[in-house]
Structure formats: C-alpha cells, structure tokens
Amino acid sequence: MIRFEDVSVTYDGACEPTVQGVDFEVPEGELVLLVGPSGVGKSTVLGAVGGLVPHFTGGTLRGRVTVAGRDTRTHKPRELADVVGTVGQDPLSHFVTDTVEDELAYGMESLGLPPAVMRRRVEETLDLLGLASLRDRPLATLSGGQQQRVAIGSVLTPHPDVLVLDEPTSALDPAAAEEVLAVLQRLVHDLGTTILMAEHRLERVVQYADQVALLPARGHAPLLGTPAEMMAVSPVCPPVVDLGRLAGWSPLPLTVRDARRRAGELRERLAGRAPTDIAPAAADGGTAPRENRAEGRTAGRLRRRTPAAPVPAHPAEVRSLSVRRAHVQALRDIDLTVRPGETVALMGRNGAGKSTLLNALVGLLEPSAGTVHVGGAQPHRTTPRDLVRRAGLVPQEPRDLLYADTVAAECRAADHDAGAAAGTCRALVDDLLPGVSDDTHPRDLSEGQRLALALAVVLTARPPLLLLDEPTRGLDYAAKARLVGLLRELAAAGHAIMLATHDVELAAELAHRVILLAEGEVIADGPAADVITSSPSFAPQVSKILAPQRWLTVAEVRKALS
C-alpha cells in the first residue's frame, strides 16, 4: 500500500540527510508502528507518505514514495487527499473549521462527495468515535482526547486507504488513549485501513502493531520486523519488554497478559524481597530527604545551590481551594500540603484540573474561595520577582518560557530576572544539557533539550517548589530517564516537586505521593505505590505483571535481583 524505495530526505541548509536508505513496504490492512529515539526523522518519514515532505517542508527527497500506486513526486498532497489521511502531533493546528460536524465534513467537501454520502458518513463517524453528543460543539472547547478523536474522524470521513498518525496518544490520559487505540484497531480489523504511526509511549501501542519499523539512529536505514524481533534490538522499549529482557524471556512478551503468563518464576524469585524503595515515602510523615542518595557532580552542585536556610513555611499549602474559570468549577475544595523533598504526581483525565491547580500555585489564577500559600506568601498577590524565588513552573509548552534568540542570552536574562549571580543559569545549563553551545537558538533544540533549558531557567531562582506540567510529552525513553535522574537529585537536595502527568510509568519511577483528581476534586491522595497500584488505568505495566507483589518499575526489580 505504501512503498518506500531507497528514500532519503535532506532539508534545505542541512549538511546531511535526515533519513537515509528508507526502503520498505507497508502491506494493505496492516498497522505499522514507527519507533526510534527522538530526532531520528520519524515525522519526516510520516510526512513523506502524504506528500507533505517535500512539497510543504522543502528539502530534497531522493528515491520514490508511492501510495496506492501514486507517486508522491508527481502528486501533490491535495491529490493524495482521497487515499491518505494525515493527523499531526497537535490536533488544534489541524482544524480548519470551528465545529465538530463541519470539521468532519471538511475533507469530503474538498473532494466533492455528494451531500447524501457526506451526511451518512458524518453520522457513521460520529458514532464510531463516540462524538455524537459533541456534534455542535466549537472545537476550541473540547478536551485533548476529544480533539484527538475529532482530528482522526476528520481524516476518516473521506474513507482513505491509508492513515498516517504522528503521536496520536502522547497528549492523552490513559483512558482516552485506550479509546483512540480501540478505534484504530477497529479500523484495521473491520475496514482494512492501513495505518502507519509513530509513538513514543510504546507501552500503550506496541501490542496493537502488526509490524514495527525501527529507526535506530539519525541517518540509519530503518529495520522492519515483527514487534517482538524489533523490541529485542530497539534502543527504546516499553517496561514490559525491559522486564522481559531482564528476566531473559524469549520471545519477548509485548503485552501485560503475555508477560503475566511467564512471570510465575520471576514472582517466586522476588517473593522474599520487598521493593527497596528508590524514593522515600514522604507522603505520610514528611521524612527528611536522604542526603546520601544524591551522588555525582550535578547533585553536588544542586545541593550547594539550594536554599540552605530552612524555609519557615511549607513550600505549598492549599486550604479548601476552589477555582472557577469561565463558569466552570475547575477546582473544588482542595486541601494539600507539600513538604520539602517530596515529589508529588498529579494525575487524572484530561481536563480534571491538574494544570489549573499548578497555575493557582504560581498565582496565574486567583482562587475563588479558600487560600493558597507558597512559601508563606499568597502567589496571586506576590510580585513576579518575588514569586520566582518561592515557586517555579515549567509549563506544558516549555518554549513559552524562552524569549531570547540564543542560549547565552536566555541565561543572562534568567540571571537578571532571578537576581542571581552572573553565570548561575549557564552553570545549570552545563549540568543539565552538556554540550550545548552558547549561540544555539532555543528553537533548534530538541524537545527534551528545550525542556532542560526551561528547567534551568526556572531553577536559576532556586525555588523551593518546582512545578512541571506534562514534562514527558514528546520525550523518548532516554530523555525521560535523564529527566527522572535529574528530578530525583533535585528532590534529594530538598526541592519539593509537583508534576502533572499522564505518564504512569513516570509517576511510578519518580513520585513519593500521587494525587488523583477528577472533576476538580481530589479523589485519592497517598503514597505512590498504594494509589497507582489500586487503579487499573493508572497502574504501571510492571505492577500489573507482578501483582499482587508491589513492584512499580523495572529498576526496582533489577536492583532486587542483583
């Protein structure tokens, strides 16, 4: 259906090709997953299918890409619109019209389908994706999961033979992600649609794939094989595969179910041992962070830089907080205390109020009832200059924090804003992001590097409370591991950390305490191991495999076995 013949793509101004030697075929009716670390050109390969590369991005494409027999060199994206449906990473930038129903019809209108057919397909698609109750809603008012489903629906209505999806579940909570994946599976099984998709969260998608195309590194030719074969050699893999590698299972299990059936022996080996918790359980009593934990150059520097004087007040104290935004009760009666050295994960479905709580903690939103105190001050009444020394937030889009056109200028501005000694921020950048030169433009950094730069900017003011909103969106496993190590060191150095995330594996690795939010209310608050293992949708893969034993991460198991 899709055929790459020795394709290489070189963008204008780049000295070497982004992808090279791409030569594989996706047969009709298969779901092929494109995996690889970030920056290896997954989006380029996906864009080449719909003709957006090179017709829209510029650059040179060598070799040949054919889709349903049409050559993308001679067919512009618009002439492929009836066979290829493409959904990019950000559904909002995909929308052309303003309501759900119009959006679903837009592609068919462009293709000139008869009105009766359009009406029927819109109704079918509304049902298929569970959008019927939202048909008149303006797109801007939908939640992330709903927007993603509308975006998929809008390319489904013209009945394309091929669907190309770039990170369809990265922005979604676990339940919404499963909804979207169930729809995709239905398309493959019932309609014979061919799907090529890229996704970082392999733990969610790898079991649905018929084949995996692995791009091991930039400029390397992709390898194609069954998911089990590819996972055995892939530099990126989900926890279930990692556990399988650790236990030496062959063939590697891809689903929790497969792994559970083989895990009997592993469970026996682990039976006597308890997880030596990598993170101190500070949730119940505010255990002092263990100083011996932080090792290495970075930790030393971070510890020296952290406010040594004990903060008299808690980093964050929230009493019966309610927030109303545009006639919606976003938060209801929240009580919360965060202690120094504690890492708290805020979880819950899209639109549950996680970001609202973080924004209220830095004073971007005013409480409509109740109080918020951050380091003893009310954030919305505190001047920004003073506030950055009490709490720092890295927003969902780290780029929002970066204004300057070079890393050096950004660091100088950060030192100035925070009133820190010159060079403070640059030293942090060196720790977090070794090897980034002064004159790099922040936009040219990768997703993970940009996050690290924003984090360095925020840390320049040494806030005792560090807030992160969806920090792992768009990060591959390696970047995520670096982030986890870094945040652990910060927590060990006494920073209180609060992160809003959909990533259960991240919460399992990092959090001492997990707070579940639903419709603006706290529905669970307790030690991470208790909260996330008790909920099937928030449980990490390792805990599902090894239940009833309470292991959360592969690292814990590895440590216990060694």
Binding site: D90, V96, D98, G112, A140, V155, P384
Partner: protein, 366 residues
C-alpha cells in the same frame, strides 16, 4: 403541525439562514440612518437587543454583542466630546457654559478650540451620535445572531477560496489573543511583570512567530485534506469564464461611471445591469473548476424569508415616513423642541420584533 420525528432531533428546529439575520440587522441599521429622532432610535436599539437576547445561541461569536455595545457607547461619547472641544457650526442661543477659547492663528480659520457651548449644538451632536451608535449596534446584532463562517460558506463556488481566506483570518484573531495571554502568563513565571505596555511589546515577537508557524501548519493540513483540488474543464469553458468575468467587470465600471456623470444618464443603467449579469455568469461558470460540494448547506426556508422580510419592512416603512413626514423623523434642533414619537413609524419598527417569536433560541437542557 405535529410531526412524528425521532426522539432527540425534534427539539432542534433547523437554524435560520445566516443571510436572513444579516439582512434583518442591516435593514434595521438602514432604517436608523433615515431618522435622528432619539425616541425612534432608542426603539430600534431596544428591538434589536430584545431579539438578540431571545434568539442568540450560546456560541463563541455571540459574545461579540457586548463589544459592539461598548463600541457604540464610545462613538457616542467621542462625538459629544468633539462638539464640546471643537465647537459646532449649529447656531444656538441657549449657552450652557463658555469654555476658555484658545486663540488660533489666521490660517486656521473655521477651526475653533473651546468657546461657547450651546444646548442646541450638544443636542444635535447627541442625535447624530445616536444614529451612528444604533447602526453599530445593529451590525453587532448580526454578528451575535449569525455565525459569520456559515455566511461565508454560502458564497458561490468560484469565490470559495476568498471565503476560506476570510474564515482563516477570523479564527486567527482569537488564537492570537490566546497566545498573547499565555505568553504574558509565562512572563510572570520568569519573574517579570506580566502587565503593562512593555510586557505586551516583549511578547510581540514570540506571538508573531507562533502565528506564522500555525499558519504554515494550517496550510499543510488544509492541503493534505484536499483544499484547492481543481477539476479539469475544457479550454473553451475556461476562456468563456475569463471573457465573461472581465467583460462583466468592465461593464460594471462603465455603467457606474455612466450613472455618476451627468451625460451618461441614458446608457448607465442598462450597461451596469448587463455587466453585472455577465460577471455573475462568469462566477457561476468559474465554479465548475472547483469540484467542491457543500455539507448541509443553509437553506432559505419560510422562516428565514419572514425574518429577512420583517427587517426589510422596517426599512421600507422608515423610508416612506422620511418622505411623507420628514419633520417627525428629524425633530428640530434650532429652535429646540422636545422630540415626539411618531406613531406610525414606531409601529413599523415593532415589526422588527418578529424574529423573536419565529426563531427563539432553543432552551439549554439543564
């Protein structure tokens, strides 16, 4: 008429054609230009506001009404302020207050700063400003009642691309405002003041960058979904289209020129009409090049016609009244007289309330 329909769908009558709302509101606005009687103007404002209150649906664009109200108020105040500061050519005897007059050089004859302020001048400015404010409020009503995007969808096929450009521009503004708000919030996170003009200026570049990136992404998405596909048309048709459109536009220009000059009174109207017809035929033929179809197009049903008709009736009645009874529609300023509500035009304005009974907004399920 009771009609059996599947449950759930019966509650939603088909929305009116957006063109009907625009015709209704613009007719009310045109009616407002025919009079300076403050009572009639106030009645027009009340009628349009009542219809907006009963008929508007909870949509993002319906919030624009209050913005138009504020704009109208601002226009009225500015008009009054100009009269106070710059004076007015209206002769008057009732001096309210005498402001200190700035001596101006000779070459600025006719311009005056400060000086006598008469009640007559103020009342004249009030009437005049009120007329303009009413017109603005009527346009605001159209914006609140009809989705501007749907109106653009009703454009003929050949103008479709123009319509899309406008739609994209219209959705761009809210995105831009959201971007500015987000980036100003981010300034707070950097420890910089998030208010003030400087804050706004510093986020300017990132906002524009974001806007540019978004428009490129949107263009790619639209192209990937088949925007701009063209159908093959025989060369004959293509040439005829060009000839008709160009010839028609030339005809329109020549016809308009004829109408406006004194000598061309005879050929003006026929040439204009012929040109218009040719241009429309060209547009229609040009539509063949785009294979687009329309999903659930808005239709002109009886209710739409009645709504548009009620507006037209108000405008027509006001035109008639301005001919037959100009005194009542333009209450005297010199000498000052209290305005009287002329009954027949007032009754005619009330016809404009018809949409409130024809197309009330569906009650929100609670």
């Amino acid at each position: 008429m009771p009609r059996s329909s599947p449950p759930g769908s019966s509650a939603r009558p088909a929305p009116l054609h957006p063109g009907a709302w625009w015709l209704w509101s613009l007719s009310l606005g045109i009616a407002a230009t025919r009079t300076t009687n403050p009572l009639l103007l106030a009645l027009l404002v009340v009628v349009s506001a009542y219809v907006v209150a009963t008929c508007r649906r909870p949509t993002p664009w319906s919030h624009s009404y209050s913005a138009f109200l504020r704009l109208a108020l601002a226009v009225l105040l500015v008009r009054l302020l100009f009269t106070v500061v710059l004076g007015s050519p209206i002769p008057g005897t009732h001096v309210l207050v005498t402001l200190p007059e700035l001596p101006l050089p000779d070459w600025s004859q006719g311009i005056r700063l400060g000086g006598r302020l008469t009640a007559e001048a103020l009342v004249f400015a009030l009437y005049d400003g009120l007329k303009l404010a009413t017109l603005l409020i009527c346009v605001g009503a159209a914006n609140a009642l009809a989705n501007p995007h749907r109106l653009l969808k009703s454009l003929p096929g050949a103008l479709y691309e123009l319509g899309v450009a406008v739609v994209v521009a219209l959705t761009f503004a809210p995105h831009l405002i959201a971007d500015v708000q987000r980036l100003r919030a981010a300034r707070r996170l950097r420890g910089r003041p998030d208010t003030g003009v400087r804050g706004l200026l510093q986020v300017g570049l990132p906002v524009l960058e974001g806007a540019l990136e978004r428009s490129v992404a949107l263009a790619a998405a639209m192209d990937a979904r088949g925007y701009g596909r063209t159908a093959e048309v025989p060369p004959g048709v293509r040439r005829t289209t060009t000839a008709l459109t160009l010839g028609g536009l030339l005809g329109v220009c020549a016809g308009t020129y004829g109408l406006l000059t004194a000598e061309g009174g005879t050929y003006g109207v026929p040439v204009l009409l012929a040109g218009l017809a040719a241009a429309l035929a060209g547009l229609r033929l040009g539509g063949r090049r785009t294979p687009r179809t329309r999903y659930r197009p808005d239709r002109w049903n009886a209710r739409s016609l009645l709504v548009a008709g009620s507006g037209a009736a108000v405008a027509a009645a006001m035109f008639l009244a301005s001919v037959t009874d100009p005194v009542a529609l333009h209450p005297g300023v010199v000498p000052l007289v209290a305005p009287v509500l002329p009954l027949r035009p007032a009754a005619a304005v009330l016809v404009g309330l018809l949409p409130a009974f024809l197309a009330p907004a569906p009650k929100e399920p609670s």
